[in-house]
């Protein structure tokens, strides 16, 4: 009884701490961006002509678009590869190969983002440059970002698939279903929630990734007209300019951090709502 009580206290305290950290960070962002917001208001961050903070132009819209394009593009690349690799290791690969494949994917997760960035800059960008320009554009950033979040999708899908009850698969096989039918009709629908969770985690990681994107996206603040045009994400904006920013400029950069938090929270809220209705229904 007593141990139960102390455990209650401990878990409550830990939960409060982790929730408080998020709130404190949001409060900090709000506090740092207040001077800019009070002075400029929200609308100027969407209606100004361009982003030239030192000349009083503060349009963030192209950066919001670039952030969404690169991270959703990364998911488009990572989701099929990740889910495919999870299905492969669980149903098609010989046991030894599956173990090695898992290890390789885990290794991919361990590569630091700056190494991904350097590889993209030196190897991938010159290849993409054959389409014209410098090769530093949204496409290059999206491809590298997709590779970076691939392990998250692959490993979480793998866990979700491995956690399915064996009876389902054995039952399906006993009914005479082929392997591909089992994967398509039993495994993927059954592991849907786990796979979805992996994709959401990958998406938030892609939204938060800074270094590799900064090195590869070209960083021009302009509404992208195609995947081959350069763009700057909200996080790259902070990383590029914060070290050199003073007073007013600094505060405006915190607004771009706040904007990123808003984008992420809208996505998370939207997803959890959909999950919620699905659970009820």
């Amino acid at each position: 009884m007593r141990s139960d009580q102390s455990l209650t206290i401990i878990t409550r305290a830990l939960a409060v701490i982790s929730a408080a950290i998020v709130l404190l960070i949001v409060l900090f962002l709000l506090r740092e961006s207040t001077p800019a917001l009070r002075q400029l208001g929200w609308s100027r961050f969407f209606t100004d002509a361009s982003w030239h903070p030192l000349s009083g132009q503060f349009n963030l819209t192209p950066m919001i678009v670039a952030t969404l394009v690169t991270s959703s593009g990364a998911i488009v690349i990572a989701a099929p590869l990740g889910i495919g690799s999870a299905v492969f290791v669980n149903f098609y690969a010989p046991r030894r190969l599956a173990a090695w494949h898992r290890r390789l994917i885990e290794l991919l997760a361990g590569i630091p983002s700056v190494v991904f960035g350097l590889w993209g800059l030196v190897v991938l960008a010159p290849i993409i440059a054959t389409f014209g320009g410098s090769g530093q554009n949204l496409l290059t950033a999206t491809i590298v970002l997709g590779l970076m979040v691939l392990p998250t999708v692959a490993l979480l899908s793998d866990t979700a698939i491995a956690a399915l009850p064996r009876e389902w698969i054995q039952g399906a096989a006993a009914l005479g279903m082929g392997r591909s039918a089992i994967v398509g009709w039993i495994v993927l629908p059954g592991a849907r929630r786990g796979i979805g969770g992996g994709i959401i985690l990958a998406l938030t990681r892609a939204l938060g990734e800074t270094m590799a994107v900064l090195m590869l996206a070209g960083n021009i603040v302009e509404m992208p007209s195609s995947l081959l045009s350069p763009g700057r994400t909200l996080n790259a904006n902070i990383a590029l300019e914060l070290g050199y920013a003073s007073a007013g400029h600094r505060s405006v950069l915190f607004v771009s951090g706040l904007m990123l938090m808003l984008v992420v929270s809208v996505i998370v809220l939207f997803v959890s709502r959909r999950e919620g209705t699905r659970r009820d229904g």
Binding site: Q39, P126, Y244, R250
Partner: protein, 286 residues
């Protein structure tokens, strides 16, 4: 805007004063120097400051010097906040930074770089301005090959960017780049990887990279070759000072360190970092 800057800098100034009294960095009374110094700021100055700090620590074993980077702006902000004893800035102080003192320790030139396969010999001032403001888009218009120009520009607030804009008298919003980069190395890698690219970086960095075989070439400016000798002699037109920045009354330890940085004892270190040592008293006064 002005009033906010004024009040916030007043607030920061107060913090600086508090910081000064609460962090004693020397123990008065002992003849030997001891204590700790924190330097933050420009990523251009930091490698040099680290080397000088090592030598200073050898001479004064009880002193610990911690060098961190984050850009000139951070260096200045940290000194005001009292987080750092000395800030590093690769530019002169701005008008709204008159509450601080700059101590010049070296100079650095900013030079234009192109891919080494680019046959172009030199660009005039007007041509460079036209290229950066998107009026010229092809190398053949300035006497080169028929190849699109990829303009590599720097992020707003960077010291090299300010030197570049000031030298050519362009406003940043009128510049239309194809790639915006942060660090010098990022600019060098971008130009080396793109045959039609043009960019501008610290001459010291570019010389070091060229020596190690990176495929870039420095362009002369106003018929003056872009190399460290010409920056040293003052002949090269586009250059910037490397400063240590302190509050108006630095601690004795900080002053001693700054004097050491400006002395002839460290000229070999300055040169080994491809910068140009200060030579005359007048340079110190700047």
């Amino acid at each position: 805007m002005k009033s906010i800057i004024a009040t916030s800098s007043l607030f920061l100034l107060c913090l600086t004063l508090v910081g000064c009294t609460s962090s004693p960095s020397t123990q008065s009374g002992s003849s030997e120097l001891s204590g700790q110094l924190t330097l933050t700021g420009s990523s251009t100055v930091a490698p040099l400051a680290t080397e000088i700090a090592k030598r200073f620590e050898q001479q004064h074993p009880k002193v610990r010097i911690d060098v961190q980077t984050g850009g000139s702006g951070k260096g200045i902000a940290d000194v005001r906040l009292g987080v750092a004893d000395i800030g590093m800035a690769s530019r002169p102080l701005a008008a709204d930074e008159a509450d601080l003192t700059a101590h010049r320790i070296a100079a650095d030139g900013v030079g234009l770089i192109v891919h080494d396969s680019n046959p172009i010999k030199e660009l005039s001032q007007e041509q460079i301005i036209a290229i950066y403001t998107d009026k010229i888009n092809n190398w053949k218009e300035v006497g080169g090959e028929d190849k699109e120009i990829t303009v590599v520009h720097k992020a707003e607030g960077r010291a090299t960017l300010e030197v570049f804009l000031k030298h050519f008298g362009i406003e940043n919003p009128s510049v239309k780049g194809d790639v915006i980069v942060g660090e010098n190395e990022h600019a060098v890698k971008t130009v080396a990887g793109t045959e039609g690219a043009i960019g501008y970086v610290s001459i010291g960095t570019a010389e070091a990279d060229i020596e190690s075989g990176v495929r870039i070439r420095l362009l002369p400016l106003d018929a003056v070759k872009a190399n460290t000798e010409n920056v040293a002699s003052g002949a090269f037109p586009m250059s910037r000072p490397l400063n240590l920045v302190t509050a108006n009354s630095p601690s004795p330890l900080a002053s001693t360190f700054i004097q050491f940085c400006q002395s002839a004892d460290v000229h070999d270190l300055v040169k080994s970092q491809y910068f140009v040592p200060i030579t005359s008293e007048s340079a110190v006064a700047k």
